[in-house]
């Protein structure tokens, strides 16, 4: 049987900025909180620790507000199921744990949106944040030629980071049309902090071509990528490279909120002004409520932490700032939304579901996710649709909504521990490890 953890009043899923800000705010009143994260270290993706630089300075500042004796850390802990109300099954290094909570704060963050094009499955074609994470984990990048493509401000931050680490960044290809970016740039004028960041970035990126309306039409190579074909308008050309870092902005991680029956709306977790979801004792903060970047995540996290700990007055003082930051999030989404032309990049032979090697042509023979899933196994591999889901939504307009446990590939013993293995979803053979 799974061992039950000590029941904590407040449990936070996700140790990124929103989750840690929520913890700090909650601890002003609550005696203790539990924080679960599936990464080995706290910080989330934006504050991922760096082999060369150690932990992120902003993470260290926030951690100083988190007395270790009042936090129960569950790192490398993946929530795989919600076997009963107010209970989560967490897979940890030591085995399955059953976690009880009275109030749950979901700070599940976001992931990169991947869109298929011929060659995107080749080794050394990575995500943009993906390549940065690998370098932070010790990947040697000095002297390597990198093309960064896709969409979003993350491309700029990662280009600066890789250049600082000695990589040769050959180009940044942004799919968004120039007119959208001009509008976005003008909006920064009303936000001095962001404008300052943008100017610093521009200096760090001097000499690297930043191409708008530009996207990769193919990656080429045998056992790894050797070159990428870029297109901008009628112009098509080839760039030899060692890495192609490519992703199309970010999408919220909705698997766990969906599993817990929180209402989703337009690809985000629906919350009220107090970060309250449609489920009474569950709050949500950060990128899962709509991708808005660091400032918004911190504000939402603090509000959720205050509300969860009954400190409504402190929460109210942050609502105005949160609403202004939220408007920036809406602008981010509209600026970096995939353009129509990206839907034409994959051919019928291009793989969409990397886990099960399902091609776009195979998917096109079906009318819905459900039908495609049953016939092709698309989205049923270990990633459980995390990579192909947003791609299928962009390419075919099907939204990946039916979320069933386990939300991540798990060991059978973990499911047996909760009796969930006795009721498998139809036509699904559990992937055993």
């Amino acid at each position: 049987m799974a061992e039950a953890l000590v029941e904590h009043d407040i449990c936070i899923i996700g140790a990124g900025p929103a989750g840690l800000a929520a913890a700090a705010a909650a601890l002003e009143r609550a005696p203790a909180v539990t924080i679960v994260d599936d990464n080995p270290q706290p910080g989330g993706q934006i504050w991922r620790s760096d082999l060369r630089k150690g932990s992120h300075p902003e993470l260290r500042t926030l951690q100083r507000q988190l007395p270790p004796e009042r936090i129960r850390w569950v790192t490398s802990g993946a929530v795989v199921a919600a076997p009963q109300p107010d209970r989560l099954l967490v897979e940890t290094v030591e085995g399955p744990r059953l976690l009880g909570y009275r109030r749950l704060i979901l700070a599940t963050g976001a992931r990169e949106r991947f869109l298929p094009f011929p060659g995107w499955t080749l080794p050394n074609v990575t995500g943009v944040g993906g390549l940065q994470a690998l370098v932070k984990g010790g990947l040697e990048i000095a002297g390597r030629r990198v093309v960064i493509a896709g969409s979003g401000p993350l491309m700029l931050a990662v280009a600066a980071y890789l250049r600082e680490r000695g990589a040769t960044v050959l180009a940044i290809a942004e799919q968004a049309p120039r007119r959208r970016l001009v509008r976005f740039g003008l909006s920064l004028l009303s936000s001095p902090g962001r404008l300052g960041q943008a100017i610093r970035l521009k200096r760090q990126l001097a000499g690297i071509p930043y191409l708008t309306d530009c996207y990769p039409v193919a990656a080429d190579g045998q056992e790894q990528v050797k070159r990428v074909i870029l297109q901008q308008g009628a112009k098509i050309w080839q760039v030899d490279c060692d890495y192609l870092a490519c992703s199309f902005h970010l999408v919220p991680n909705l698997e766990l909120p969906g599993l817990l029956n929180c209402r989703l709306d337009a690809g985000r977790v629906a919350v009220d002004k107090h970060q309250q979801t449609s489920v009474p004792n569950i709050l949500c903060a950060g990128e899962a409520t709509g991708v808005g970047g660091l400032d918004l995540s911190l504000l939402e996290g603090r509000i959720a932490g205050y509300v969860a700990s009954g400190n409504q007055a402190a929460a109210r003082r942050l609502l105005g700032r949160r609403d202004r930051a939220r408007r920036f999030a809406d602008l981010l989404e509209s600026t970096f939304a995939p353009t129509e032309v990206l839907r034409e990049l994959p051919s019928d032979r291009t793989i969409v579901c990397r886990c099960e090697d399902v091609s776009l042509g195979a998917l096109r023979r079906h009318q819905s996710w459900r039908a495609a899933k049953l016939q092709t196994r698309c989205g049923m591999g270990p990633c459980q649709g995390r990579i192909c889901g947003p791609a299928v939504e962009t390419l075919l307009g099907w939204r990946h909504e039916s979320i069933r446990p386990p939300v991540l590939a798990t060991r059978l013993e973990n499911l047996l521990a909760t009796g969930q293995a006795g009721e498998p979803p139809s036509n699904q053979d559990w992937r055993l490890e």
Partner: protein
């Protein structure tokens, strides 16, 4: 000098800096291919954050280990499908 540990990648002893992920260590050893897909195509690391499962390798006999989420430990035996 940074502290190092020795791990075994596909039978070959390799020195890596402490704090290196298994994915980074394998890529640094000149092996971009971490696994083969269902149809036999080469695959490497993609998301770097433990969600895509493309970087899975065998670590100390445990198949399907996500190499981007696991740090190298002295004596660790890693097997790729490259």
């Amino acid at each position: 000098m940074p502290e190092t540990v020795t791990i075994i990648i596909d039978g070959q002893a390799t020195q890596v800096e402490v704090g290196t992920t298994v994915a980074a260590a394998v890529l640094n050893s000149g092996r971009p291919v971490l696994r083969r897909s269902v149809a036999g195509a080469p695959r490497g690391a993609l998301c770097g954050m433990g969600i895509c499962f493309e970087c899975r390798v065998e670590i100390d006999g445990m198949a399907h280990s996500r190499s981007c989420q696991i740090y190298c430990r002295a004596g660790m035996e890693v097997r790729t499908d490259g």
